[in-house]
């Protein structure tokens, strides 16, 4: 009788372990899918930001709506920032 109980316990343990393995595998797969979806979303958003911020889109828009234009070199001032110390840029 004891042998039978021991056999059943071992059987249960093996089954439970296998079931847990499958459960974890499914969870890992779900997380991987979720990560892939988020990465795809990030890439799509980055593409849209990049496209929206590109000169191809932005410059005609601001020229039309705000009356701005690409500056000539006479229209901006570059200030030289002094070096903070010897050898430090």
């Amino acid at each position: 009788m004891a042998w039978l109980l021991l056999f059943l316990c071992v059987l249960l343990a093996v089954t439970a372990r296998q079931a847990e393995g499958f459960r974890v595998a499914r969870r890992v797969r779900d997380l991987r899918d979720e990560r892939a979806a988020l990465e795809a979303r990030r890439a799509e958003l980055e593409r849209r930001i990049r496209a929206g911020a590109s000169r191809q889109v932005l410059v005609p828009k601001v020229e039309r709506t705000l009356g701005l234009h690409e500056p000539a070199d006479t229209e901006f001032v570059l200030f030289t920032v002094p070096h903070s110390g010897q050898g430090t840029p």
Partner: protein, 652 residues
Amino acid sequence: MAKPTARIVAIQFGFGVGVLAILLRAAQVQIVQGDRWGREAVRQRTERAVLEARRGALYDRNGIPLAITQEYYHVGVAPIELSDIRRTFVLLVRSLGVPAPALDREFQDRKRWIYLHGPFTAMQVQALRSVKGVYLTGEYQRFYPARDLARPVIGSLAPDRAVGSEGLERSLDSVLTGRPGEAVLLKDRAGRRYDSPARVVRDPIPGNDVLLTLDAELQEIAERGLDEALSAMRAAGGDIVFLDPTTGELLALASRQRQGGRVPRASTFTDPFEPGSTAKLFTAAALLAHDKVKDSDAVTGENGVWQMPVNSAGRTRKISDAHATHGPLTLARAIQVSSNIAMAKFSSSLRPEEQYEMLRDFGFGTPTGGEFPSESRGRLARPDRWQPMYTRASLAMGYEFGVTPVQLAAAYGAIANDGILLSPALVREVRDPHGKVLYRHRPEPVRRVVSSEIAARLREFLRGAVGEGGTGEQAQLVNYSLLGKTGTAVRFEDGHYVQGEYTASFAALFPADHPQLVVIVKIDNPKGSYYGGLTAAPVTRMMLQQALASHRVAIDRARLVARDTAPPLSPERSVAPRERPVVLAWPFTALQPSEYPLPVPPVTGRSVREAARTLHRRGFRVVLRGFGEVVRTSPSAGELARPGTAVTVWAE
């Protein structure tokens, strides 16, 4: 009929034979063929799957993604397995964006299997993963977030497999391709797979990521500048190259052809052209290197037309200049006004080998050795194939040899880099999947082409070419000076010259002192004005203005110096005095003292105060002779002198 005992014995014998046969068979199956059947059992219950490795990404020099790999999906639907067809139908339409009427037709036709090829992103199919009866097939695909930016250079993959077929995708294929992994999947009796992470035999190793030398912002400026120029000039095509002369890194490469596919060829590497006057500088370099011309040597410009003798039999060749020049022309002046006649005359003192070797040393006629595949070597015939008088003059004018825009940029980079030719580079860094740097580009000197003194003199020639009276004046900025040379050449196509069609070009070094950028602009067959000074030069100015105004373009603005001598401007380009900004260096300091000789700046016509300030900023000492307006200096403008040298200024 046998006796019962005999029958029993026979039956027992039969059983015995049967048992023995079973035992023998069992022994055969278990012992002799055990391994084979064991493998068969594993094969039925498991499946080995190749785990695809993600291909490495391509980024610009600032980490902006240019080519990445993403997982995409194809969707299969088994209508018979769906528990709620209506709900799944709505989900498919909403998530995948497929047209409802078309999908409805598929369902109405009572198909057993509906296949939606897509491909769909992971984001799109996320909601479908848990739907019974919907099956997803994933695969990696290349994605170019910046769409067409630098696509001719980046290239593409083969349509049917993840192998580079063009451009950098091809040449960097071994770097970008990862190592596939392997996994064992468990199957049930119906063949359905179970995920089992414990059975991964080998993890896939993603490919390495590559940081290119390209600057996405500058690339966009170049592409947009080229598009606008081609549209305005109704040109057949063009190329623009930005190169960092101190490192050889290619910062932007734009190519366009009116005829061809949606993605243009990378003609900056593949299409040689005859450079015209932009190549005059290389013959000048040969003349200086072999000491064939002195500063005071001059030839006549023949009022713009000259019949050059090409053999002893009296045969001549007509050479003409676009702008007739009067009076003697020194080498510097010949470059400034781009005189074909003067350059043809000067070149006659060179031996063919001397001229050929100088062009060869500047990298013409041989691939630059960059990472781009199928790079053209250009065209440069050996001297033994020349018609001596004819070819020598042609080469001096920039004809009879072909260069790619990248070769020309590298050659001008050598002039900017004190005479040292660097190999142009497209790859800045290679990183493994964990971010560890495997390779970092270091400048690769090819050879010293000319001495630093000759390089400095060539730069002075370029200063003249974009100064007052130079052919490239239109390229000049107001507050910052550049060096440059225009080029206009009759187009050479299919083995002959096409009269009436030209290639206009401009090569620039920016800024004039310690150049940080080499810019090559080439316009193919512009309509209307076709001179390089009127077409390519203004495009260069416009792009440099945009690059300066953009904080994202990697120009070391701390090293930019406002120009000392703004040339007189045409009315439409001049700026009203009240609008002219002041570029301040704070606190005011003299320029970095240099141990190398510097050209004496031109101060003639200026007040003594202005002249002294300009000379002091360059590190020269000033000795005054008189007051009022400066009439001359010694050493004179353009001559090289070490900082600390006393410059005598005569004023009246």
